[in-house]
């Protein structure tokens, strides 16, 4: 088992009567990229702020890079690159001066890395930040987080407002960071991006991590749907297929939900004039909606 870069135990944060985070236990291994997904107010940003000491936990404990979250807060921050979700910048500073300010706190920040990243993202460092567009500001925020040379990156909605080219560049840079053994915890509402970049995805809802078995059950549920098309002119006798619980038609495609053993259903389909047959492969978007929809209903 690789060394845990982040290890939290029942981490909780209350703001008065509201539980922003309600007992989150999570482990992040070295070199791992973990994505946080969840609706607004699920507790993603709060979790990140707690790890960095920006907010104080109401209960629970955490170790980051082997250090206690409270006692070793300053030492932790020396080794973490952070992009806040509600990023604000010093608008009257030039981007170069802002970058120099942000990186001046890191003794081990690689020299010239900030300028190099700014060049990659095509950011004019001599320009004042107030002249930057929203996307450029986000890129500047990313640059300051990536240029710190940190062992752990905590990125709250890193691609918010980025153009597709910059998103792709960010994904490449993240892969490079990971290849060099760095760990990443990121949150995003762009599920496609999370699915593409992360090794593991955690679903948060109302301050809690949704148990993996709930998500696995949803995935499994999707996998039990077969998508079949039949040769033209043949109306299939779907009632003859065993274990079919539900049939839905989408144009010339039939979606068959199988309940119970799938073998007999496949055998029956093999005897029909099937043109194509495939298992449903749900993307994260579908799983996300199914997970949160079922929780809202319950």
């Amino acid at each position: 088992m690789a060394e845990a870069v982040i290890s939290t135990n029942d981490l909780a944060k209350r703001y008065g009567a509201v539980a922003a985070l309600d007992g989150v236990s999570l482990e992040l291994a070295r070199g791992e990229i973990v994505g946080f997904v969840g609706p607004n107010g699920a507790g993603k940003s709060t979790f990140m702020k707690l790890l960095l000491g920006i907010a104080r936990p109401s209960a629970g404990a955490a170790r980051v890079l082997g250090l206690d979250m409270i006692r070793g807060s300053e030492a932790i921050r020396r080794r973490v690159g952070y992009l806040p979700g509600d990023l604000g910048l010093y608008r009257n500073l030039r981007a170069g001066a802002f970058l120099a300010f942000c990186l001046s706190f890191y003794r081990d920040a690689p020299r010239g890395r900030g300028a190099e990243l700014a060049r990659l993202f095509e950011l004019p460092l001599e320009q004042k930040i107030k002249g930057y567009s929203t996307g450029m500001r986000q890129k500047l925020g990313l640059v300051q987080a990536l240029a710190a040379g940190a062992e752990l990156l905590i990125l709250d909605e890193p691609t918010k407002g980025l153009d597709p080219t910059s998103q792709a560049l960010f994904a490449d840079l993240l892969a490079e960071e990971q290849a060099e053994g760095r760990s990443v915890l990121l949150s995003s509402h762009v599920l496609e991006e999370v699915e593409r970049m992360c090794h593991r995805i955690e679903f948060l809802d109302r301050g809690r991590i949704i148990p993996p078995d709930v998500v696995a059950a949803v995935r499994e549920d999707f996998r039990r749907v077969l998508s079949a098309t039949f040769r033209a002119g043949r109306e299939p006798d779907l009632a003859a297929i065993p274990n079919v619980q539900d049939v839905r038609r989408e144009k010339d495609r039939f979606l068959l939900r199988i309940d119970g053993e799938i073998g007999p259903a496949l055998a029956a389909l093999a005897r029909m004039d099937v043109d194509s047959l495939e298992f449903n492969r749900p993307d994260l978007q579908e799983i996300y909606h199914a997970v949160y929809l079922s929780r809202r209903r319950s």
């Binding site: 703001y15 702020k49 960095l52 000491g53 920006i54 907010a55 104080r56 300053e74 030492a75 921050r77 020396r78 973490v80 952070y82 806040p84 509600d86 990023l87 604000g88 910048l89 010093y90 608008r91 009257n92 500073l93 120099a100 300010f101 942000c102 001046s104 706190f105 890191y106 925020g141 300051q144």
Partner: protein, 258 residues
């Protein structure tokens, strides 16, 4: 870097503060010969609530110019412009970072919250005290150049020390309020309100002993600029209250969630 950024943000405010302090002294000095020539008539025109100012000037005798400059530079200038500058500078600390959304970025840097606040406080106290001291040091020169009269520097330096302690206390109080509240407008209203109301109440005999300005009163400055000792009680209270407010601000800031 916090120090450098604060200096960069504040230079024009400090320049304006210095200019107002200097302007105040120059204007009253230029008017002094006329004022002195017509002193008795002018004193008759003084409203009742300023009678103690008139009395201080009439009783000053040969030290009248010294007292006149002390009243105008310290009691009027430093007491009014100093706290205003202190509040404006305190607004540029934590509460500004909260409002522009940079607090998360700043607190995620590897630097303790105590050091962040002390860095701001050190720069701001320097920015408040240095211009005041520059004008104070230039008082004899200004008197000589503008009206060809001599005044003693040393008593002014003692008065400057006391005024600095008072302004420092107001700054520390404003900083505490700035840490407690998350909006600049609220901080300005509370800190400014305390100072303005306190200054108004100072001119009412019955309420004077209960105001902030009791610590930086006309009597205090008249005594010092006439060569008297530094009022240890008032001076100690300013330093103590300032230190307590600064410590309070640090304690609140260290525990606050952002």
């Amino acid at each position: 870097m916090i120090v450098r950024r604060a200096l960069r943000d504040d230079w024009w405010k400090v320049l304006a503060y210095l200019a107002i302090l200097a302007f105040n002294v120059i204007v009253v000095l230029r008017a002094y010969p006329t004022f002195e020539a017509n002193l008795s008539q002018l004193m008759n025109l003084m409203p009742d609530f300023l009678s103690f100012v008139a009395a201080a000037l009439l009783d000053a005798g040969e030290q009248r110019l010294q007292v006149f400059m002390g009243i105008n530079h310290f009691f009027k200038g430093a007491n009014m412009i100093g706290p205003a500058a202190a509040i404006i500078l305190a607004l540029g600390t934590v509460v500004r970072e909260v409002e522009i959304g940079t607090i998360g970025l700043l607190l995620s840097r590897p630097i303790s919250r105590t050091r962040i606040l002390l860095s701001f406080a050190a720069v701001h106290l320097l920015e408040l005290i240095l211009p005041l001291t520059l004008v104070t040091v230039s008082l004899p020169l200004l008197a000589d150049c503008l009206i060809d009269r001599q005044v003693e520097l040393l008593p002014f330096l003692w008065a400057n020390l006391h005024a600095s302690a008072f302004i420092g206390m107001v700054y520390a109080l404003s900083l505490l309020i700035a840490v407690l509240l998350n909006e600049q407008i609220k901080v300005a209203a509370v800190a400014g309100g305390v100072c303005i109301i306190s200054f108004m109440l100072y001119f009412i005999d019955a309420t004077r002993p209960f105001t902030l300005y009791r610590l930086s009163s006309l009597d205090v400055y008249v005594d010092i600029v006439k060569g008297g000792p530094l009022p240890l009680v008032e001076f100690s209270v300013c330093l103590g209250a300032g230190a307590a407010c600064l410590a309070g601000a640090i304690l609140v800031f260290r525990e606050k969630d952002y």
